[in-house]
């Protein structure tokens, strides 16, 4: 019988899910609250009862910036903070539109795509 703390940790588990094309976040069994990024226990309250659930992928842009980069190095790109429908916030990029067109309050949906050689959660406008 394996205990709560046995086996791969939260980061390795998250990345293994991502490699399988699944965007998974954690939820506390007792409180029902969701958590991102992956943690060992519930932040603040400390419950060690986090289980993995599939994220809905629905989100809203909370803050956004355009990182200015020379065209020969790949050009400008967006970095944003996304509030997930389940509650937690995460850093990501909104792609599929001009980085300057990303606006606070914009509804976005997650997709998994490759970024810098590894699978990543990215968002596109709904």
């Amino acid at each position: 019988m394996s205990g709560y703390f046995d086996g791969p940790g939260p980061e390795a588990t998250f990345r293994a899910h991502l490699a399988e094309g699944r965007f998974m976040i954690q939820r506390s069994a007792s409180t029902g609250l969701h958590v991102f990024y992956p943690r060992v226990m519930m932040p603040c309250s400390g419950e060690a009862d986090l289980e993995w659930v599939e994220a809905s992928g629905e989100g809203t842009v909370y803050a956004t910036t355009v990182t200015r980069r020379r065209p020969e190095k790949g050009g400008d790109y967006n970095v944003a903070l996304i509030d997930l429908a389940e509650g937690p916030r995460m850093m990501a990029r909104v792609t599929g539109i001009d980085p300057e067109a990303v606006a606070i309050g914009m509804k976005v949906r997650a997709k998994i795509d490759e970024l810098n050689g590894a699978p990543a959660v990215l968002f596109e406008p709904v």
Binding site: E11, F36, Y37, P38, Y62, A63, T64, T65, V66, T67, R68, Y77, V79, A80, L81, R89, M90, M91, A92, R93, E100, I104, G105, L115, N116, A118, A120
Partner: protein, 384 residues
């Protein structure tokens, strides 16, 4: 008497110095830090071998207090290299006050040094953030740009509001011979500068300079005998909510909202009593956030508060009177310079930029990505 007020006034700054501000070619970070220590001890007229408490943090030493102790040949009874980013040195002042008051040490030195500019540019102290790094945030600026974007959205602020902060800082820098950039600056120039990370352009960002600083603290009994006017640590408090910007609960509300009120409570003074205000301005947005979170104006009113030169020379509230990280000096971790400007104003030695009757001076440090916040309040003997 509460635990907090027990420490009030129990540490005094008796020596303060900077070294190598701007460009210091050919000198490494340890050497610059050691020079600042030499100058601060000379200012205090205290011999090196009496230093028994040593506090230091830099971007290039993993164990800065030990590296500095080794260079100086010191064997401290207490040392700390605690690194919470640019606010470290204000936290060290609280540590030093506790160590002095407890009797563990008699003479504390807090030091910092960096040769980042001549060594090739900005060097972050930070490891990559595990669930952010893949998106390539260019921290720290990405984090501050995200905060600025949220602030502008929530409070209908525009880039000209942020620019007001840079223009005020430059006004003060023009009065400070130690400032690295002193030419007058206009709102238009700030807004038209090259964009780095929207909405922050080049002139919304701090300088990249070399520089070192050190202060000497003793118990008040000894401070009275020194050659300098003692400046007392009346209040100090620290707080942090997050490490990564994606963990920050509300990007418009920093942990200065926690540290400020506790520091004021310890000091027995409030925002309206402050004669000068020194805030860690790594980016223009910082000054607005800290003025609000420390209680100088209400949340969202920072842009109106700073409008029309209110924090510039001749304005109602002198803020960042050395020119700040934006125009005076920013070697990577600027906190000790914030503290030294507060101390110099309270001493009354600031020359053209001296604020008349500056008896109570606030110095607020920031570290990481609006992460660590440490508020200190310094006062002359008559404020005790």
């Amino acid at each position: 008497m509460s635990e907090l007020t027990k420490l009030r006034g129990k540490a005094a700054c008796v020596g303060a110095a900077t070294a190598g501000c701007g460009e210091a070619p050919g000198r490494n970070a340890t050497e610059l830090m050691a020079e600042a220590v030499y100058r601060a001890l000379a200012d205090a007229d205290i011999p090196l071998n009496q230093v028994d408490g040593l506090f230091a943090a830099t971007a290039v030493h993993s164990m800065a207090a030990m590296s500095l102790a080794g260079h100086l040949g010191l064997c401290p009874k207490y040392s700390s290299g605690s690194n919470i980013g640019g606010a470290s040195f204000l936290a060290h002042a609280l540590d030093a006050a506790m160590a002095l008051e407890s009797g563990i040490i008699d003479v504390a030195v807090i030091a910092y040094g960096s040769n980042q500019r001549t060594a090739g540019g900005f060097r972050s102290v930070s490891e990559p953030m595990p669930f952010e790094a893949q998106y390539e945030p260019r921290n720290p600026i990405t984090a501050y740009a995200l905060a600025a974007s949220r602030y502008m959205h929530e409070f209908q602020a525009v880039r000209e509001d942020l620019a007001e902060v840079a223009v005020a800082a430059r006004g003060w820098a023009g009065l400070n011979p130690e400032a690295f950039v002193r030419e007058p600056l206009t709102i238009e120039e700030v807004v038209n500068a090259r964009m780095i990370s929207d909405p922050l352009g080049k002139l919304d960002c701090c300088l990249v300079t070399d520089g070192a600083a050190a202060v000497v603290l003793t118990r008040p009994e000894r401070a009275k005998d020194g050659p300098q006017k003692p400046v007392y640590l009346l209040g100090a408090a620290m707080a942090h909510h997050h490490r990564m910007i994606s963990e920050m609960p509300d990007l418009t509300l920093t942990a200065a909202g926690d540290s400020g009120p506790r520091a004021f409570a310890m000091a027995g003074y409030g925002p309206n009593d402050m004669d000068t205000v020194q805030l860690y301005d790594a980016f223009t947005i910082n000054t607005l956030l800290f003025l609000e979170d420390l209680g100088f104006c209400a949340k969202g009113e920072g842009k109106d508060f700073v409008a029309g030169g209110r924090i510039a020379p001749g304005g109602a509230l002198p803020v960042n009177t050395n020119g700040g990280g934006l125009s005076c000096v920013h070697p990577g971790m600027y906190g000790l310079f914030v503290m030294i400007e507060a101390i110099r104003q309270a001493r009354g030695t600031c020359g053209d930029r001296q604020v008349e009757g500056a008896n109570l001076c606030l110095a607020h440090g920031n570290g990481g990505v609006l992460s660590s916040q440490v508020t200190t309040i310094w006062g002359t003997g008559e404020t005790l």
